[in-house]
């Protein structure tokens, strides 16, 4: 009979989504073409099929969107918090109602497995709106009423104004939620630019805003590529810039807004260490390492890309890890049993390939999961490098793909030293059954989020953001309000 558990294909139905041939920009409550008629194509990275044509916003479009947001700001910010809350609750509920559709759309446009978009991304999106809906009428309780620039800001803190928000392609709708929900809750209006390769869920979100009855101009979605983002950030009437993406672009933004009164929060790259001590719960540590680097194909800024394992258990841990990776199922993102989907774009794939080649050239030992990858689309197999040192480029540069580097350490102090020896500081992981050691380590890691005995956990109540070149500002929870209040 053979093993029946070469599970048969179990594709999630695509019929639930209805993708239009072309989309305009969502400005002031309506969709419109770009002023200069610019278009780009968004493709399914698993098949290279063109999904739709997307308008490319230029300076004139950005200006129109910022003006719409400015106009809407007056009445939106004047609404009682409880009213803003109700809009956000409506949006949260509509996202819950359309959850499966959004999950499928996200997987088609991004390439991530449906299991992740269905069980992680979209539920978190709804939860994020739900959470910040509740804050909208409780800002006076947030303990954020100190004021530097606004003499009117008292116990009831005031919004900043028009927020220009630029988000990445790895968690398209979730990053939108992280940006839009707190901004609106605090009374700001937004112009958001989704990533050029993953605009579809943001455009669907625009329709949800209409369905929720959100006043025109409160949310504006201007699609496009890098130039569109630059125009948005540089626009003189944008009061607040929020960006998630690469550290290189983050630095460019910091230079662009220098000398202006613009507020900024940046959530940038990472090169997280995942530290496994010899007294860890090994089976769960292995699961956590896999979750840390292969969740979303490692295209995660907080991915646990550097495994630091105590030398005394390194061999046995790596044997378990390899065995576990061999059970990963790479392929069709819409198959419910897929663990690792497609790489989001050809450009990203070539960056991964380049860094992996550098790792091999510098003498690290590469192991990749065997097995045939789909002929079309952008794919890279789960890969582990051993024999890596701090000097290797793959241990220092963010790869943003399913590639893990392994180093060993002898003592907790050495683990912390190696973990912190990076320009980044977004996240880190610690695995030990000894609570005191977990906390000791966590307190010494220069990272914005430290997971102990778990990895890649997110919650709207939990602040997220980086140290050092991973950016500044926090998203999530009470702390996330600060970025959108004039305090």
């Amino acid at each position: 009979m053979g093993n029946p558990f070469e599970y048969a294909p179990a594709p999630e139905s695509r019929a639930i989504v209805d993708i239009a041939p072309a989309y305009g920009l969502f400005i002031d409550g309506t969709f419109a073409e770009a002023a200069d008629g610019g278009r780009l194509k968004t493709v399914n990275p698993a098949t290279e099929e063109v999904l739709a044509e997307i308008a490319v916003g230029g300076e004139a479009d950005v200006d129109r969107a910022v003006k719409a947001a400015r106009k809407a700001f007056k009445s939106w910010s004047a609404l009682p918090g409880a009213q803003r809350a109700k809009y956000l609750f409506r949006i949260a509920r509509l996202i819950q109602e359309h959850a499966r559709e959004l999950a499928v759309l996200e997987s088609i446009d991004n390439g991530k497995p449906i299991r992740e978009s269905r069980d992680v991304d979209i539920p978190l999106v709804a939860a994020h709106f739900f959470h910040y809906a509740g804050w909208a009428d409780k800002l006076a309780h947030a303990g954020l009423w100190r004021s530097r620039t606004n003499e009117h800001s008292g116990a009831d803190p005031k919004p900043i104004g028009v927020a220009g928000q630029v988000i990445p392609w790895n968690f398209p709708l979730l990053m939108l939620a992280w940006k839009v929900a707190p901004a609106l809750a605090c009374g700001n209006t937004v112009v958001l630019k989704p990533a050029e390769t993953t605009p579809l869920t943001a455009l669907r979100f625009a329709e949800i805003c209409v369905e929720a009855g959100l006043p025109n101009g409160v949310v504006n979605i201007v699609t496009g590529a890098g130039e569109t983002g630059r125009a948005l950030i540089a626009h003189p009437d944008v009061d607040k810039v929020a960006f998630t993406g690469s550290t290189a672009v983050g630095k460019e933004i910091a230079r662009t807004i220098a000398g202006t009164r613009k507020r900024v929060t940046l959530e940038l790259g990472g090169k997280a260490a995942n530290i496994v001590y010899d007294d860890a719960a090994i089976d769960s540590a292995v699961d956590g390492i896999v979750e840390g680097i292969f969740f979303n194909g490692g295209q995660v800024c907080c991915a646990g890309s550097r495994l630091l394992v105590q030398e005394s258990v390194a061999d046995e841990l790596l044997a378990s890890l390899t065995r576990r990776i061999k059970t990963l199922r790479v392929g069709d993102p819409l198959d419910k049993n897929t663990d690792v989907g497609a790489i989001n774009s050809a450009a990203q794939l070539s960056r991964i390939q380049e860094l992996v080649a550098a790792g091999e050239a510098e003498g690290a030992e590469r192991w990749s999961l065997a097995g045939e990858l789909p002929g079309k689309g952008f794919w890279f197999p789960p890969t582990v490098f051993t024999g890596v040192t701090q000097a290797h480029r793959i241990a220092r540069d963010e790869i943003f793909g399913p590639v893990l580097t392994v180093q060993t350490f002898r003592t907790p102090a050495e683990a912390v030293e190696k973990a912190n020896n990076t320009a980044y500081g977004l996240s880190a992981g610690v695995w030990t059954e000894k609570g005191a050691k977990a906390l000791w380590t966590a307190q010494r890691l220069r990272a914005g989020v430290v997971w102990t005995n778990t990895f890649n956990k997110f919650d709207p109540a939990s602040p997220f953001g980086g140290f050092k070149e991973s950016g500044f500002g926090r998203e999530g929870g009470r702390h996330g309000l600060e970025a959108y209040l004039d305090v």
Binding site: G2, P4, S284, E433
Partner: protein, 324 residues
Amino acid sequence: MPSAILADPAEVTSSEAALRRFLHGLPGVDRVGTEARAAMLATRSIKTDAKVAAIDLAIRMIDLTTLEGADTPGKVRSLCAKALHPDPGAPDTPRPAAICVYGDLVAEAKAALGDFGVHVAAVATAFPSGRASLDVKLADVAYAVAAGADEIDMVIDRGAFLAGRYRDVFDEIVAVKAACARGEAAGGGSAHLKVILETGELSTYDNVRRASWLAMLAGADFIKTSTGKVAVNATLPVTLVMLQAVRDFREATGRQVGVKPAGGIRTTKDAMKYLVLVNETVGSDWLDPDWFRLGASSLLNDLLMQRQKLATGRYSGPDYVTVD
């Protein structure tokens, strides 16, 4: 993992202190991570051809069970008939692995099952509580073996385990294993020994891992979750921890041990989740009735209804499977 820590199995069981050192030296089990892993695997989707094959495999893995105070020879004969002809309308339906009964009904079951290859398993050792003297427990086992039981499902002494008297638990399993030997007149050999850990009473996953190793070191052929008689019976995360244990034990000793979750597994969906757990934790070596069993009773009919659905395209109902 433990090839390093189990260089000499005889050494680690040589004394109470050595046994304790070994069991407490096993890596901890993280509750949250283990449950998350089991929950993630429960989302696997088994469709079409894979489902057809998996349903038949699950049927072949069932220990069809009746363990009631009200059991009678008539009830056992009825259950045996069900095992031999699970679905009278579909003669190609495979048979379950075994019938599981109390020791006093083994002879009845043996006679009813004939030579069709369906085993008789007997619960023994003062099942389900295990509260009796060792002599009584061994007599219980010997009686069932003499009556023709192919497999013995014993319970460990949970009181001794929770009190930290690991060596007592170990010695008792060793003694029961010896009592499983058949006389020359009965053809020699030994009844297969399944050791019930009663994980619902052990409470922690660390205990489940330690009890699994303890039972395997003492000679268990199978480790089994539950009697089905306490509040918490088989669960996916408990079974995951036990599968990790048999995997690591084989790696350390070369000996393969089977796993049997029992109690509370009622639907085809449940059964599929357990098979997925096996597949992704220990692999296809265990995807066989010799190495994985499902202790259940109502599960069989649900599998049969699903089987009919796959054959006909229509959902079946309880009137189209036999009640026994």
